[in-house]
Amino acid sequence: MWVFGHTGGGSDLRTQESVFEEIFLVFLVLGTIVGVVVIGYMLYNGWRYRASASDELEDPPVLGELPVGQGGGKKLALSFALSAIIVLSLIVWSYSAVIYVDQGPEMEENMEVEIVGAQFNWDFTYENGETLTDTLVIPEDQLVRFSVTAQTEPRLDVWHTFGVTELRIKADAIPGQTATEWVLADQQGVYLAECFELCGAGHSHMTADVIVVSQEEFDSWYELLSEDPDEAMENIPEPEEN
């Protein structure tokens, strides 16, 4: 798979964050340039041809004429072609990242977490079967794969969207459907997970903490989780200050 752009640290793994930031930046710069040029051109001509400064019109339109156009097709075709090239190349270029973002990097080791949304909590279930509510602890620099859905049993729940803005990850949580998402967190810290689809009166409060800690700290906590879940939930590890 071709992953565009350079990646830090000599590895070909990229976080979702860096993929997003790069594409966003390119779009932002080009979008601004196009916007400034087009709007500038429009304002300039709007000023240039203001009535008080213009000559009398040649062949002005008259009331009751059959509506016809004014020609000028060549110029139109040219600007159209130019804009088409910009838009097309941007999208095609950005598409090369879609497969990577959809499927995630290939890594030998990875862990899986099941995320279930229910009014108005997030449940995170680890491979050992233990479930944390509104708190997710994951290790730094490790690929974590999520399967995301909404609760169906014992009671059908509604459509939610799980997203962590700072990590640039997001997935719809739809009852009966399972979406996949992945994260590769390269910095320890506490990140805010939010719900991005209106799900009822508690939508605004449907948040969770995503805690990224070092691999060693995670391993020892995870071991504790398997042996004594209650104890582990009391002792959520804390990320190191960078």
Binding site: A77, V98, Q177
Partner: protein, 816 residues
């Protein structure tokens, strides 16, 4: 009703009974501005709540209702009706018609819209309206999560609104294609009329899909069907149906505004549109493409990558025609004499805003970026820059056509002041949303880092709202005491609405407009009437009618019926209201049918490609086309859910296919008898007509009898066919209403069976009413054998369609 009894505009009665397109246009504009204020107040509530990051004036539930109602009111009850106010007023003038093709149906459209708005307002009073966002995502949109009857009422309000839109769609399609002045071809239509024509073509298909979605949702709400709670894809099904409507809806809202822009860019620059034919082709292309991109609203769902890629490609495709249209407008400025009047300031500003909305939309077209923008304020900011850019152009349209509609000039200084404050407020409000794009949509509390941007937005919102005080003051004083407007206040305007008085007379032009010699001329009305050959339906010497009580009566009856329907099972009063309302609807519909309302079709003018089709038949076909989409969407929903369930694991509900097959024979035979009625009508054979119609009604009842027996008795496995037949033959009438079959909520299989065949049964019943009416007229008034057999033909077209629908339902629900 003769013309002399048509009351003057100062009379309240005039506004209740009028069917004149200019009156209806004014009614639309005034009502939509009322809803604009309503939606605007909701917006200000939202912005006030977001002033601080924590709890403030609204609860989570109240906030959810406010954002939902704001979206629904602005999109459905303000933007489109506002645009269609102008369409009503201006399109017939631009094409040189006296009125729309079906003036009474047009009045019905308006009143259905008005009362749909009233139903929506009632929903607030029933324990709160729906709070699922304007996209109404499932299953949050169901009673399990919103138990108050208000949520159901809101859905029925939307359904009633869809009824209004469907009637308008039929009316405008027929009018624009067949009521053009002599010498005015499609190609030469003014740009505003072009934009409305393409808008209604999109509406035809998009709103039918919405109708299907809302009917199914209504069945889930009222009868307990299980479509959108189905874990086999119920949520996704809603998203598909909604966005198949919802994406074209963006252009449905925007195109009329584009039409206003294309007119004003020509008028106020004194230039004709650059690349006109390319602009028209681009708009036609957008119309087609609008139905090929809906899943870009669903990139983050579980749909597969192949379809996402396809939809992404289509999405880029649809941005290109818009590039061309934008460039065409900019190039039209060149070498012009641009006059910055209030209408043009708004339209110039609208294009600036639209460019920004368009560029930020390209970001959303890239899947990787869209994943992150999903559900954030980026989306909110983007679509306000697009939709409200359209709103901006329409406000320009209000100033542009104000002198024509009222005959008064507004104050130019106040107009410019309005624009200045408006434009500042707009950008402060919505650009702040781009800056706070990481915030999730529809939250009423947020983290504290975003307070500055939110407060900027709130200040912008207040400025934006306040600017409209200037507009309302300006228009109010102009209406009361403004200087009289000339016929044509705008130099370089070209279109025909400026070639008549301000406001125009009842019949729009003194003479009959014609473009036969390549420019607008007027012919003597009497000469045209005498010279034109007399066709069926043309009654020389008779004046067209302009008044009817039935549109407002039917709509009011519908209002009562739907309020009752929403509360079924809640309280006895609701049941009474529903039954009374339904009877009232039926009676007023019959009253409508009996009224002799005369609206002639123009004798000349290009009708290509619909030459030679009478307007009633054309209207019926347009209606059937939308019905095809409704039935198709029901069948599509069934196929989708069955696929999600596992196609071959699915169990058909009817245990035997024989009753279905018998019913197929029955309906096919009824199709044959209804065509016989038409043949006999053409031959002038009265008894043949009556016999054909009665036989058809008889077969319809047979069909319904077998159907109801099946619903009640065939379905429980214990019952056998002979047993059921015996009970039926003994005419135990109780049988029909004695429900023993499994309930609609027994499983998704039962839900799809009952709901789809139920929709078909309702079609059969409506057909029976229409056929009964024809039979009675044929019997009592010797109707249809005097050369005017069109009603028999048109009802027949409908009846054959009901037959065709069954041709598909039978195999899908009984055999496969």
């Amino acid at each position: 009703m003769a013309e002399h009894s048509f009351p003057p505009r100062s009379s309240v009665k005039r506004w209740l009974v009028t069917t004149n397109h200019k009156d209806i246009g004014i009614l639309y504009i005034v009502s939509s501005l009322f809803f604009f204020i309503f939606g605007g107040i909701l917006a200000l509530l939202i912005r006030t709540q977001l002033w601080t990051s924590g709890e403030f004036i609204l609860s989570g539930s109240a906030f959810g209702q406010a954002v939902t109602a704001h979206g629904l009111v602005m999109v459905f009850f303000f933007l489109s009706p506002f645009a269609f106010g102008f369409a009503n007023y201006i399109v017939p003038l631009q094409i040189g018609a006296d009125d729309l093709a079906f003036p009474r149906l047009n009045a019905l459209s308006y009143w259905l819209y008005f009362f749909a708005g009233m139903v929506f307002i009632v929903s607030f009073l029933q324990g709160g309206t729906i709070e699922a966002g304007w996209t109404l995502y499932a299953p949050l949109n169901l009673p399990a999560f919103m138990p108050s009857p208000g949520a159901t009422t809101a859905i029925l309000a939307l359904l009633m609104f869809v009824g209004s839109v469907t009637a308008s769609t039929i009316n405008f399609i027929v009018t624009i294609h067949t009521h053009k002045a002599d010498g005015l071809s499609l190609w030469h239509l003014p740009m505003f009329t072009w934009s409305i024509l393409l808008t209604v073509w999109m509406m035809l298909i998009a709103f039918a899909a919405l109708a299907a979605a809302l009917l199914i949702l209504g069945a889930d709400h009222i009868f307990g069907a299980q479509y959108f709670t189905a874990t086999e894809g119920g949520g996704l099904l809603w998203a598909h149906l909604f966005w198949f409507f919802g994406h074209p809806e963006v252009y449905i809202v925007f195109f009329p505004a584009l039409g206003v822009m294309l007119e004003t860019y020509q008028t106020f620059t004194g230039r004709r549109l650059i690349g006109r034919k390319w602009v028209i082709l681009a708009m036609i292309l957008v119309t087609l493409q609008s139905f090929l991109v809906w899943m870009h609203h669903m990139f983050l769902t579980t749909i597969n990558l192949e379809i996402k890629t396809l939809m992404m490609a289509m999405t880029i495709g649809i941005s290109l025609p818009f590039d061309l249209i934008v460039f065409a407008m900019i190039y039209t400025l060149l070498k012009g004499r641009i006059r910055y009047t209030t209408p043009f300031l708004f339209n110039f500003g609208a294009l600036l805003l639209f460019i920004l909305g368009g560029i930020t939309g390209v970001f959303l077209g890239a899947i990787v970026l869209d994943y992150e923008f999903r559900g954030t304020y980026w989306v909110v900011a983007h679509f306000h820059y697009v939709m409200f850019a359209g709103g901006t152009a329409l406000i320009g349209g209000l100033y542009y056509w104000w002198p024509k509609i009222t005959g008064k000039m507004y104050n130019e200084f106040l107009g410019k002041l309005h624009f200045g404050i408006y434009f500042i407020g707009f950008n402060l409000l919505y650009f702040s949303m781009f800056l706070s794009w990481e915030m999730p949509r529809r939250v009423f509390t947020y983290h504290t880092g975003l307070e500055t941007y939110n407060q900027m937005a709130t200040i912008g919102g207040i400025i934006l709202g306040a600017s409209f005080l200037i507009m309302f003051y300006n228009l109010y004083t102009s209406y009361l005491s403004g200087p009289d407007a000339p016929d044509n206040p705008w130099e370089y305007s070209r279109t025909a609405e400026w070639a008549t008085s301000s406001p125009p007379p009842l019949e729009n032009f003194e003479g009959v407009p014609t473009y036969r010699n390549g420019f607008l001329e007027f012919e003597d009305r009497n000469a045209v009437a005498d010279g034109g050959h007399v066709e069926h339906g043309h009654e020389p010497g008779r004046h067209p009618d302009h008044a009817s009580w039935w549109p407002v009566t039917i709509s009011f009856a519908g209002f009562l019926m739907l309020i009752g329907l929403a509360g079924l099972g809640e309280h006895f009063a609701y049941e009474l209201l529903f039954i009374g309302g339904a009877a009232f609807v039926l009676l007023s519909a019959i009253g409508w049918g009996l009224e002799d309302f005369y609206a002639p079709e123009p004798l000349r003018g290009a009708k290509w490609p619909f030459d030679g089709v009478h307007k009633n038949k054309f209207g019926m076909w347009v209606f059937l086309a939308s019905d095809i989409v409704i039935f198709g969407a029901f069948i599509g929903a069934y196929v989708f859910i069955r696929w999600g369930y596992g196609w071959e694991a699915w169990q058909n509900v009817p245990a035997e296919s024989l009753p279905g097959l018998v019913n197929t024979f029955v309906l096919l035979t009824s199709s044959f008898t209804v065509i016989l009625a038409l043949v006999y009508a053409q031959r002038g054979n009265r008894r043949g007509v009556i016999a054909g119609l009665l036989a058809t009604i008889g077969f319809a009842f047979t069909f319904m009898l077998i159907k109801s027996w099946e619903w009640n008795f065939l379905l429980p496995e214990a019952e056998t066919l002979p047993e059921a037949v015996t009970m039926l033959v003994t005419l135990d009438f109780d049988v029909l209403f004695h429900t023993e079959g499994p309930a609609i909520d027994a499983s998704i299989m039962h839900s799809t069976y009952y709901v789809t065949t139920g929709l078909h049964a309702i079609h059969v019943l409506i057909g029976v009413v229409a056929l009964g009416y024809l039979a009675w007229r044929a019997w009592a008034h010797n109707a249809y054998i005097d050369g005017n057999e069109r009603p028999v033909e048109n009802v027949g077209l409908y009846w054959h369609f009901v037959d065709i629908a069954w041709v598909f339902l039978f195999p899908l629900f009984y055999i496969i």
